[in-house]
Symmetry: C2
């Protein structure tokens, strides 16, 4: 299989640098092809701006979403963006590897997401109707591919536990797992987190690689997290609240994971309005939905 | 009062650009002094790297936390970082204003946090003992100042509701509110969020400014969110789990807000071990704690 490893650490002689080399070696030893985007080494431009669309009129008002769409559709994207999209297209799986900085990914990796996830590629994909709100959350350009996070954290595992002061790690990573990976269609695996990095020694590093190695060996066989598909019937459209009979009375990130018996099989997608009879209201809603879907990524 | 507005949008002729001008005008009309860090206009360097420490040996192993500490302590930080820290020192309140991109802040603003929150300034502050885990979460260099987010989102408010598909907005913003603002000591206000930005028109913009204006007028009188202080007795040290008798049986981000009757008044900080009798174990723990506290920001 083909795997894209996006790595975000400034120092090769760091724990993250060592883990990167381990990941590449392990995957290649299993017969996989590995593409590496080492963002710091590449001098990746972290900031999304008007220069990302090569044919932009310099004095025109810059619209992050619309200029991105134009550049993606017309092939006038900055070359570095197009190259990363090609890597994603070729990949069967994506691994994002990074140190947790301020409870999220480093800015350079966030900028990779913002620029590579162009409008028309990472978001703003698919049609809007009474039964669909674009292709997202389980559908989209990257559907059929897998994704996994490999994250290091300085704090203790208990600090990231269910009642830990930093907040539970699964909740801290939800905006990435659900909002960045599941959104454009990836099947998302549980993250692999290494804690207490200040206490790393050769024995712990060996044990860390042992555990991580097992995750890599089962990259294509581990069941992904059962996030609920947006257009599978679990959500009311266009309000996009989880239907009241699912996870009744509960709120928060956790309800977007289906239970052991996926409640979504109880639903079928709602039929749209009669074919060919598009009313003014539907059209207006579709246009707004399209704008909103764009904006979810970048806008305003 | 003195207010620092950090603004992260590439286009002045955008909704966010208009909101920025409104915020500055409104605050100044109330007699406040406003400092503006318009990150795109400043050409802010988003990526933290070795160049941020001016006296670094070019071939030395770069340690994001330790090099940051050295540069902060010895006055060899990159000039742009020192300037932003000075703005923070002068400020009585901080406003971070940004469009929600991929359910978090734009990369350029994340990079502002990573670089300006130096080790010794934004984290890695204070002593570690049996009763303290450094000055953080309610204590720290920025204690006594207030902070508020002003955020725009393309999606509908219902998409960000308690059962909305994107996840509740308060949970999406928790890593910023609690992990970036409360961590170094800010008193944090509820965020001001503007939804459905694709449907903005003059009437809605006027209403938006009306509501936002009230938030600005009460910036210094609104009670902050009752996040629990780390060293106030609510958390067991060093595990840093919320004590079982507080929010019993509950988990997730919400438990880090005290209830109407703050349970923390029931606790007093645990006394340390006998004065002057520092045992080997304590010293080792303190050193590790210090490393971990550093790492919470940046490391590995």
């Amino acid at each position: 299989m083909n795997i894209l490893l996006v790595h975000a650490h400034p120092e090769p002689r760091s724990l993250n640098g060592s883990l990167k080399r381990f990941i590449v070696d392990r995957l290649e030893s299993q017969g996989h092809a590995v593409q590496v985007s080492d963002l710091y080494a590449m001098g990746w431009k972290a900031t999304l701006d008007g220069a990302d669309r090569l044919d932009r009129e310099p004095d025109a008002r810059f619209d992050p979403a619309m200029d991105s769409r134009h550049a993606f559709v017309h092939g006038t994207q900055s070359e570095d963006i197009a190259r990363e999209q090609d890597k994603l297209r070729r990949a069967d799986a994506l691994i994002l590897q990074f140190p947790l900085w301020w409870f999220s990914m480093p800015a350079i990796l966030k900028g990779w997401v913002e620029r590579v996830y162009a409008n028309g590629f990472g978001y703003g994909v698919g049609e809007h109707s009474d039964a669909r709100w674009g292709d997202r959350y389980g559908e989209g350009s990257l559907a059929g591919k897998r994704a996994m996070l490999v994250v290091t954290a300085g704090g203790w595992e208990s600090h990231y536990g269910p009642r830990g002061i930093n907040g539970p790690i699964d909740d801290l990573l939800f905006p990435i797992q659900h909002g960045i990976l599941y959104y454009p269609g990836f099947d998302v695996l549980t993250p692999h987190v290494v804690y207490r990095t200040g206490k790393m020694d050769p024995a712990r590093f060996a044990a860390t690689c042992e555990t991580l190695g097992r995750r890599l060996d089962t990259l294509f066989s581990t069941p992904p997290l059962p996030f609920r598909r947006q257009n599978g019937g679990d959500y009311a459209i266009p309000e996009l609240g989880l239907r009241p009979e699912l996870a009744p009375g509960r709120t928060g990130f956790g309800i977007h994971l289906a239970d052991a018996q996926p409640a979504s099989v109880l639903h079928v997608a709602q039929p749209g309005n009669e074919q060919g009879a598009e009313r003014e209201q539907d059209r207006a809603r579709r246009h707004e939905a399209q704008a909103a879907a764009h904006a979810e990524g970048l806008a305003q």
